[in-house]
């Protein structure tokens, strides 16, 4: 969400009001990032926009000075969803993947933690203005300070009004089913971030830098691993590019799964 500056996702409503009736839509909201990208920036790990012309350098300054325009974009999308999906059914927004990157010292004008929290609350408020029954998920960056995720986000999430959020979610793919850590190279664990926030986790996998598909992640088909992660607070997994028989796989392993602590 946010690829354009006005609502362009009627197709989501068409699906959820049609063939996917009864399902709860989850929308990845990348509005602030797309706003900066429309100013010519690339994702942090992408160089095609020119040297250092990326979200990790200019993103925070773009967002800080464009905050009113970004809020207008949020309102446009929220109003669009209210019109085509209604305001009573649940809908979940995964808010601003990699939000933590806007506090990096590599930014020309980094956000303070207070600013990052303030803007996030305003984004949620802009959606709730039109979608009072929307639910929100806060992004997980498993490398947050201090010590590369060592406190499982205690300090980082402590800046935010977490009562606004019903979930937390990973982003960027490549999350590890077979590991107590979300990613091997970071110290944050699935259980740790669940305990710190008290929120159920929406996990993602199957893609890498700049959204490039990494294929089906077979570890997330293994009942032993899934049960371990459910015990850590995971309630959902999205495969970016699943095998065509994923539905059959899910059906075949369902009987081997425990009842999750929270039930999706």
């Amino acid at each position: 969400m946010g690829y354009q500056s006005t609502f362009d996702q009627t197709y989501v409503c068409n699906d959820v009001n049609g063939t996917l009736s009864g399902k709860v839509p989850i929308v990845v909201s990348y509005v602030a990032a797309f706003y900066s990208k429309r100013l010519g920036r690339c994702d942090c790990n992408v160089n095609s926009c020119g040297a250092n012309n990326n979200l990790c350098v200019h993103g925070a300054n773009d967002i800080k000075q464009g905050i009113n325009q970004i809020l207008d974009i949020y309102r446009s999308y929220a109003q669009g969803y209210a019109n085509c999906f209604g305001t009573t059914k649940p809908i979940i927004f995964e808010m601003e993947p990699d939000w933590y990157q806007y506090t990096y010292s590599s930014q020309t004008s980094p956000m303070t933690n207070a600013q990052a929290a303030n803007f996030m609350s305003q984004f949620v408020g802009a959606i709730k203005q039109y979608l009072p029954n929307a639910r929100f998920s806060m992004d997980i960056s498993p490398w947050v300070a201090p010590n590369n995720g060592g406190d499982h986000g205690q300090s980082w999430y402590g800046n935010f009004d977490m009562s606004l959020f019903s979930f937390i979610n990973t982003s960027g793919g490549s999350t590890e089913a077979a590991n107590t850590r979300i990613r091997q190279e970071n110290n944050m664990t699935w259980a740790g971030v669940n305990q710190v926030t008290g929120k159920p986790i929406l996990a993602d996998t199957g893609y890498g830098a700049n959204g490039v598909s990494a294929g089906h992640d077979n570890n997330w088909d293994n009942p032993t691993y899934i049960n371990a992660r459910m015990n850590d607070g995971v309630v959902s997994i999205s495969q970016y590019n699943p095998n065509s028989n994923w539905g059959t796989t899910i059906s075949s392993i369902r009987g081997q799964l425990n009842t999750p602590r929270y039930c999706p």
Partner: protein, 342 residues
């Protein structure tokens, strides 16, 4: 790898290198196609002012053997340049690039030159250090007060246009709901611009966020704003902040809410589900502590529906937060036969 095989491999590499170098020498001179050569790929404009135009001349040279055609020069929102058309082999021309920074701070814009050169598009970065035309001197107003407290924060206005601005406060309805009002104080001397006073009054507990926005009377920027976070501490505590009901787990079909307050003579005035197919009951644990239990009315949810949301309203005698609303989420697909069996 055995020693003889390793040596052969090295030898082959060397032969290939020599052969490649010889080919390069034979091809000395301009390449057959068009080739765009840029003196630099980044230009720094130095100090610039927000909303004011700066122009530079950028040299472009065709070091190829055929005419170089520049079909377009794409820029971000801040810079522009007209494509010069064709550059003959060996020729060098200058293109005027005009930038008008819309934001202050470190400025960076990218030009993409699409040509018939083999390495098209060429990327040219334009950077500058931009001073603001007008802004509030602080980045955020972050104020925490106890219920009933008041505070005034003074904000200066800085920037090249600070003396020309005629600040005006637009509609303050939302701000007033949050316990804020704004007023403008005139400049104290010719050396100062007007000041903004933000008056905080902690009317009710909670976290209130938004932007304080002022009209400037200028064409650009017509408005300036500053984000605020106004936290008011109260005496009511409700945990958890979100209620999760697990439809598929009978041991978690009812969720517990602890409602505590340090206010004297604390009591619950009303507990109600204001949205969703949920029911609530409560019990008094102590004078300062009540406990509510929320459950999904499973038999009223259509078969097969996944997920159900609602809202719990808690009205108490605690004056710092007379009403608190909690979101409820029931997760899992409702299966009536399963519920009946349980």
């Amino acid at each position: 790898v055995s020693a003889p095989v390793f040596c052969c491999f090295l030898l082959l590499l060397c032969v290939n290198c020599r052969s490649h170098n010889s080919t390069e020498e034979r091809k000395a001179g301009p390449p057959e196609g068009a080739r765009l050569s840029l003196e630099r790929t980044e230009y720094h404009l130095g100090q610039a002012v927000q909303f004011e135009e700066v122009a530079i001349q950028v040299p472009l040279e065709n070091t190829g053997g055929r005419a170089l055609s520049i079909s377009s020069i794409e820029a971000g929102h801040n810079c522009r340049a007209a494509p010069p058309g064709t550059i003959e082999p060996g020729a060098r021309i200058f293109v005027e690039v005009t930038c008008r920074p819309l934001t202050y701070g470190t400025f960076a814009d990218r030009l993409r030159l699409k040509t018939n050169s083999t390495d098209s598009p060429a990327i040219l970065m334009i950077t500058a250090d931009v001073t603001p035309a007008l802004r509030l001197e602080r980045d955020i107003l972050d104020v925490t007060l106890s219920h009933g407290e008041k505070r005034t924060e003074v904000l200066g206005v800085v920037g090249k246009s600070a003396h020309d601005a005629k600040l005006r406060v637009p509609d303050q309805a939302i701000l007033r709901e949050h316990g804020l009002t704004l007023s403008i104080s005139p400049a104290k001397s010719r050396d100062h611009s007007a000041y903004v006073e933000a008056h905080f009054e902690a009317l009710r507990a909670g976290v209130f966020t938004g932007n304080l926005t002022l009209e400037t009377g200028l064409t650009e920027p017509s408005e300036i704003s500053i984000p605020y976070t106004f936290t008011v501490r109260g005496t009511l505590s409700v945990t958890p902040d979100t209620l999760y009901i697990n439809v598929r787990d009978p041991t978690r079909s009812e969720v517990q809410v602890d409602i505590k307050s340090t206010a004297p003579a604390f009591s619950i005035k009303k507990l109600s589900v204001t949205e969703g197919l949920f029911a609530v009951r409560s019990e008094r644990i102590s004078a300062q502590h009540h406990r509510a239990y929320v459950r999904l009315l499973v038999d009223q949810v259509p078969e097969g529906v996944t997920g159900s949301v609602g809202r719990l309203s808690i009205q108490t005698t605690d004056a710092t937060e007379p009403e608190k609303t909690l979101p409820i989420m029931a997760m899992g697909k409702v299966r009536h036969e399963l519920s009946a069996a349980q």
